[in-house]
Amino acid sequence: MPSRWKLQVEGLAVGFGDVVVLRDVSFRIAAGSIFAVMGGSGCGKSTVLKAMIGLLRPSAGVIHVGGEDYWAADDARRAEIGRGFGILFQNGALWNSMSVADNVALPLRMLTRLDEAAIAALVRVKLSLVGLGGAGGTMPAELSGGMRKRAALARALALDPDILFFDEPTSGLDPVTAKRLDDLILELRDGFGTTVVMVSHDLPSLFGICDDGIFLDAGSRTAIASGAPAMLRDQCQQPFVRAFMTRERPPDDGEASP
């Protein structure tokens, strides 16, 4: 049985020249959990995500994926580990020149040796899992915002990932559509046992589905709290975290207005 930690981040730091974006961020993500990376705007949430999915090399620190040092691996090995990742970008990032079905099929065509019939069957089942069973032939531009997110989720599922990364999955969606997407994420996690990492500041979504998380602070550029979002809301001693989780202004709010 492998370790119960799917992802371990130790002492992660990211900087560009003299600018420090993140310092000394450490956390562990249990296999099969839904983990939230929280924090206000500009605190480096997306930077953590980029370091985890291989888009941004950290300046210090170690990221272990399933026990393996991700950034110490060579490019080929890192790409291989990355095939176990499914990523849902903030605006879907669907390839607009291809139909929805081709969007899902492309990773299967490029990265597996499956024949077209098998790919077609897999694409069908993945689209039906996200509720887009009949939409394979449509172009991304013809879809609504919620449907685009679902199509992008089907694409993220293309290679049956071990870890799903979500960058602000519910941003730009109305509450009902956002709730549907949350439920879908839960169903997929329960069904496949996938580990889910989501960057979000959508409170209902955080309280609704996340088991664990960290809270990054824009001032100190590091994590100032960790735990399940609901726990942070009820028990965290940090005034800013409490304020964030309850959508209040912090007691020492220096800014006159946002």
């Binding site: 499956l114 069957a121 897999l122 009949g134 049956d160």
Partner: protein
């Protein structure tokens, strides 16, 4: 009794119902999907399907694909499908993978005649809009010159710097080279007649009358016209133009007028500069490679190039400048709101600008001939 089996499954049945035993790993990426497996189970003709999954290993979408095809087939054939023997997680995913929401159908294709009609109407509308743009520029331009326009002087100066001084390096390089090339090409022909010295008049007339105006305009269509379109299209996408409109700030005066005035004013100046560069390029080549002295080159140029030719060139540059700027602004303002629309707008503005400049140049050539210039 064994009825049928495949990779990862075996079906046993007694005629009244079939039990499918699932075992081993079902990993789509590694093992693929067994084609027709579900069909073979259904072909046994059992009236009910049940499952036994005690030996099931790791599984992913491969299993769900098999089960959902089986379930949908069973539903169609009125075969009972008992999922009680499946792992809970697989049952939840199976429930998720039900046939889904209908997707809006694409609009029906338009008949040929309607398409022609629609094309004609849009062409008419576009012509009207272009005419309004030209007329508006004229009227607002006059108002601006009288100081009665909300156009900001700073905007105009910025646009002039961008369309003028900032373009000098590329205008220099291109015109120098064009002048040099003309001298080379001319020299090959003229040398056969021992008329080397006339290379100066050839370069002079060609540069002043045609090439400096044309090449500079083409450069500016690519450089500035494209940039205007891309900038306005970006503002369109960011709703910046909507914000101006919502305030009641005249978009035309703030965005279009400074650009059109700047390029119309700068292109003639760049043309004059381009003439000097072109003549100089020809000079370098003629003196370096032909039997022409510096003094005779200059003397010959002064003889050959008349003031009328400069007037023609300046007039052309003025028109080219206005055309390029108007096309760039028009395309930018009419662009869509997506990121891809910005690229399309830039390309469209460059192509339309260059083609427009060359067509206008041909019109000028005909007029000049008729007038005997």
């Amino acid at each position: 009794m064994d009825i049928s089996q495949g990779r990862g499954w075996a079906a046993k049945g007694d005629g009244s119902h079939t039990v499918i035993t699932l075992f081993g790993d079902w990993i789509a990426r590694r093992d693929g999907i067994e084609e027709g497996a579900a069909g073979r189970v259904l072909a046994t003709g059992a009236p009910a399907l049940a499952f036994e999954a005690g030996g099931l290993g790791r599984w992913d979408c491969a299993l769900i694909a098999f089960l959902s095809t089986l379930r949908d087939g069973a539903r169609q054939g009125n075969v009972a499908f008992d999922e009680a023997g499946l792992p809970m997680s697989a049952r939840r995913l199976l429930a998720l993978a039900s046939p889904a929401v209908p997707v809006p159908a694409p609009p029906p294709e338009m008949p040929f005649v309607s398409r022609i009609g629609r094309w004609g109407v849009s062409l008419y509308a576009e012509t009207l809009e272009a005419a309004a743009l030209v007329g508006g520029t004229g009227l607002r331009g006059i108002a601006a010159l009288r100081g009665r326009s909300p156009m900001r002087g700073q905007d105009l100066l910025d646009c002039m710097r961008e369309a003028g001084a900032a373009a000098l390096p590329i205008v220099t390089v291109v015109n120098l080279l064009v002048g040099g090339i003309l001298a080379f090409v001319g020299a090959v022909q003229l040398r056969r007649f021992g008329a080397d010295v006339y290379v100066a008049s050839m370069v002079g007339v060609a540069v002043v009358r045609e090439m400096a105006a044309l090449m500079t305009a083409i450069i500016m269509a690519g450089r500035t016209g494209g940039a205007y379109a891309a900038h306005l299209a970006t503002m369109q996408g960011n709703e910046e133009i909507d914000a101006l409109r919502a305030f009641g700030i005249p978009v035309f005066d703030v965005l279009v007028l400074p650009r059109v005035l700047a390029l119309t004013a700068m292109l003639p100046i760049l043309y004059l500069y381009g003439c000097a560069m072109g003549v100089f390029g020809g000079f370098v080549v003629a003196v370096a490679t032909l039997d022409v002295s510096a003094v005779s080159y200059v003397a010959e140029i002064r003889l050959a190039v008349s003031g009328n030719q400069f007037v023609l060139g300046l007039l052309k540059s003025l028109t080219f400048g206005a055309l390029i700027a108007l096309v760039g602004c028009r395309v930018g303002l009419a662009a869509g709101r997506s990121a891809a629309a910005i690229g399309r707008a830039a390309t469209h503005a460059v192509v339309a600008g260059i083609v427009g400049v060359i067509v206008l140049d041909a019109v000028f050539a005909i007029c000049a001939r008729a007038l005997g210039v």
